[in-house]
């Protein structure tokens, strides 16, 4: 019941319709679905489904959802104000930037931004500007909780840096600010042409200010990376982002696939689109869905994408997959391995693993990789049998 209802909620406005979705829930059922809906950030869509007469909430259940939604939206408005302050200081410092995910997806991919909650601010800066950007943000009280693995790592090899802004509003939690250099860590941090992400630009208006965001193609690709390789188990709202981006008339999906292929990442698009359609079940099936279902990745693509699966030794698997594509020849690969295996003492102290654990984990993984008979993941991307 819970899974079916969650799927129906995630498909509100685009689904084929699920007759069970409109049935009233008893308190226990409601409690179960609410926990999952909150975790998948679907409460806004659930309320919208109820307004459309498709959810059957009791007045008390509706009031509970609205209370939850109000708190989430208050946080979103605080984050929007923080975003505007960030835009102001970065603009004043002459640092080019693009805002990502969160409010950008809410405003560009949904008919009402309240349907798409978020919990931090994400922005993209050029690798060469990252140190200065972090310095400028210090003026807003934004700090870096974990130091860089080794000097220069973020600028050359990293996905980005997670920062913390002072708590605002009623809550005491500090707000996350993710400063990205690119869309992913590991091998894709090397293969994505990060500077080219600034080639196209668009804007969204937040509080009367136009702020810069990615163009449609890169926004779609980022949504795919976010759903397919960022989290071990993507939230349904991340997968709904992918669906909405696909259904957006502005998307040139063939151009997007070409761009992803140039990063050895067409597999990321294929997995994100295929999994999103399976999870949510939209009524429409545009051509990219068929492409995604039948896509056959190369061994190199599969090796890259599989390094992000699961949580066991993920950082080591990503690092190992990245080594062949680290730029800068032997010296670049040496610098990368030195940073991931032998971080500075300060960096190790602020992370969970000790230096010895990092090295041991990397060596164990390497031994497993070269041992014959290792796990074969080819079935994960095999096309379905002919009907």
């Amino acid at each position: 019941m819970s899974a079916d209802l969650l799927r129906a909620i995630s498909a509100h406005g685009i689904g084929a319709g699920d007759p069970s979705a409109g049935a009233a829930l008893d308190d226990d059922e409601f409690s179960d679905v609410f926990t999952d809906a909150a975790r998948h950030r679907l409460v806004g869509l659930w309320l919208a489904a109820n307004e459309a007469g498709a959810a059957g909430l009791t007045p008390r259940q509706r009031a509970l959802l609205e209370q939850h939604q109000s708190l989430r939206m208050e946080l979103c408005l605080h984050l929007d104000r923080l975003l505007l302050e960030l835009h102001d200081v970065l603009d004043t410092a002459g640092l080019e930037h693009r805002f990502l995910k969160g409010v950008v997806h809410a405003l560009r991919l949904y008919p009402d931004p309240a349907l798409r909650p978020y919990g931090d601010v994400d922005l993209l800066v050029r690798g060469g500007d990252i140190d200065r950007a972090l310095q400028v943000m210090g003026g807003l009280g934004i700090v870096r909780p974990k130091p860089e693995l080794r000097p220069g790592f973020d600028r050359r090899f990293g996905k980005g840096v997670t920062m913390r802004a002072p708590a605002r509003g009623r809550g005491t939690r500090r707000h996350g600010v993710d400063v990205h250099r690119t869309f992913a860590s590991g091998p894709y941090a090397m293969t994505i042409d990060a500077d080219a992400l600034f080639d196209a630009t668009a804007s969204v208006s937040i509080g009367g200010t136009d702020v810069p965001v990615l163009g449609s193609t890169d926004m779609f690709l980022h949504a795919c990376f976010n759903a397919a390789v960022s989290d071990e188990q993507p939230t349904l709202i991340s997968q709904r982002d992918v669906v909405n981006a696909v259904l957006d008339d502005a998307l040139d999906w063939e151009a997007a696939i070409d761009r992803a292929a140039s990063w050895s990442a067409a597999i990321v698009v294929a997995r994100a689109v295929r999994d999103a359609w399976q999870a949510i079940g939209p009524a429409a099936e545009p051509p990219i869905v068929s492409w995604a279902t039948h896509y056959r990745p190369s061994r190199r693509e599969r090796r890259f994408a599989d390094s992000y699966l699961g949580s066991d030794q993920r950082w080591a698997r990503e690092a190992l997959a990245a080594v062949p594509v680290v730029p800068g020849g032997v010296r670049g690969k040496g610098a990368y391995l030195n940073a991931v295996l032998f971080p500075t003492k300060e960096a190790v102290e602020r992370r969970k693993r000790t230096q010895r654990q990092r090295v041991a984990s990397g060596v164990r993984l390497l031994a497993r990789q070269v041992r014959p008979g290792r796990r074969n993941d080819e079935a994960a991307d095999a096309p379905p049998p002919p009907a």
């Binding site: 939206m73 208050e74 408005l77 309240a114 009367g208």
Partner: protein, 80 residues
């Protein structure tokens, strides 16, 4: 009779037809417009639309004057 429009610098989200959260410049916390005030806000539509019956609507909505001055643009003196 006066005209009203949304202050474009006010951040906001709709919770329902009867509840809108607004976060105008000048406030350190978002605040909630309820009932008629929420419906007034939603009826104003986009930033540029003028509502010729604005003052009556705002007065009917019992919109707090301090909040009204922050979230709305337009001549509000008639509200007093």
């Amino acid at each position: 009779m006066t005209t009203l429009r949304r202050n474009p610098r006010t951040l906001w989200r709709r919770i329902s037809d009867d509840q809108v959260i607004v976060f105008p410049p000048g406030l350190s916390e978002p605040t909630t417009l309820s009932g008629a005030a929420a419906r007034l806000w939603l009826d104003l539509d986009d930033d540029a639309r003028l509502d010729p019956a604005g003052s009556d609507r705002a007065a009917d909505a019992s919109l707090d004057l301090t909040i009204a001055a922050l979230v709305l643009s337009g001549a509000l003196e008639e509200l007093g």
